[in-house]
Symmetry: C3
Subunit: 158 residues, 3 copies
């Protein structure tokens, strides 16, 4: 069973699609896949519900948290975003053409046993606590990622 | 003979340069190189000639196709693009300093046997058909990429 | 002793943080780490002091050099840059929360023996000479990178 790791650094809709399509494809081949969400990539794992007020005592962190999209349905496109119209149009195309959307890809990744790991250092920087992120994910730092990557045959940074 | 794979996700001139310089360098070392063009990266493989009208029945796809640059000579820079002036200036520098340009790098990659693969799922999303892309390339999905990456020693996502 | 390579293509503060956190983590595990700075990533290695006038005879190169940030303290964020306010705020958060900043991470990488390599082709394109970059780094082209990546277990493009 081959191992593969993907660092999801980007919080863009299009790059998230690429990351999840690759992760699901590898899991379907019975590979052991770890997705390590860091920096803006953490926005993919955010609870879509309103954030608890005051969970980060640091004002700047609260500002970053307010700017960072909450969950998969609000991610921008890296190109042609047009204030959020771009991703909405692309979601429509994806649905009409029978391609799996981001929410389905995440659910499928979970079902297939893809490990979803939130980077604790990035959480610290962006002022996000475990209550801000979706349930049933793991928490780890760079040492854990590096251990996984050491014996993986494919390591991508997206 | 070592294997290497490069996912070309970005449609930026500068990232395309990096991808092709690496691919050509590896091919020159007799490595087996596969470049997998996905999402905006497909714009590198587009026919520079005018697109057939109405080839995509979906209006949104036609809009994305209209926005997406057609071929290597129209790619933007990821920084300092300045409405297209940036890439033009950089092309001039590259020419004056005897560095191989993007068109030459693509031709050289072909000559050296670098495999150029267009991602069929991305083509579906962006409404691009085989007639919209340059000749003599391969078409494949994520499973094909993952098979290549499994036994490759270097897998980059650009 | 495992080998790891990281291409630092991006000149963004946040991506630079990711690259250096990974490099330091791997070096702490006694891995042999090579960071290969190319394109905008060269701005991380620039001397923060004023640039010698006229070191690049090419006007366009001088323009790019003037636009490219000089050193770690002036890098933009890939998101929420807000004309330079974003990175300043993020630096404050990082300092207040006891996370190592970019300057410390670079110093630590050096101490731990991480190899810092400037891509000579990118230097040629951007009109940067050795005098424009910090001391005690290596200079090499893509062939050197590919040789390192051949027997490395992890190769990232950031």
């Amino acid at each position: 069973m081959a191992k593969r790791t993907i660092i999801v650094f980007s919080g863009d809709y299009d790059r998230a699609m690429a990351a999840f399509v690759i992760a699901n494809g590898a899991a379907a081949m019975d590979d052991e896949v770890t997705m390590f969400f860091t920096f803006w990539g953490l926005s993919l794992l955010r609870q879509p519900t309103a954030r608890r007020r005051g969970s980060a005592p640091d004002l700047v962190q609260r500002a970053f948290a307010a700017l960072l999209p909450q969950g998969l349905s609000r991610l921008p496109l890296s190109r042609f975003n047009f204030g959020g119209v771009g991703p909405r149009l692309m979601r429509g195309v994806i649905r009409r053409h029978g391609v799996m959307g981001l929410e389905q890809l995440l659910a499928s990744a979970r079902e297939q046993g893809v490990r979803l790991v939130a980077c604790t250092t990035s959480m610290e920087i962006l002022g996000l606590g475990e209550a801000d992120l979706v349930d049933d994910i793991e928490y780890a730092g760079v040492a854990s990622y590096l251990a996984d990557a050491s014996d993986a045959g494919m390591n991508l940074f997206i």
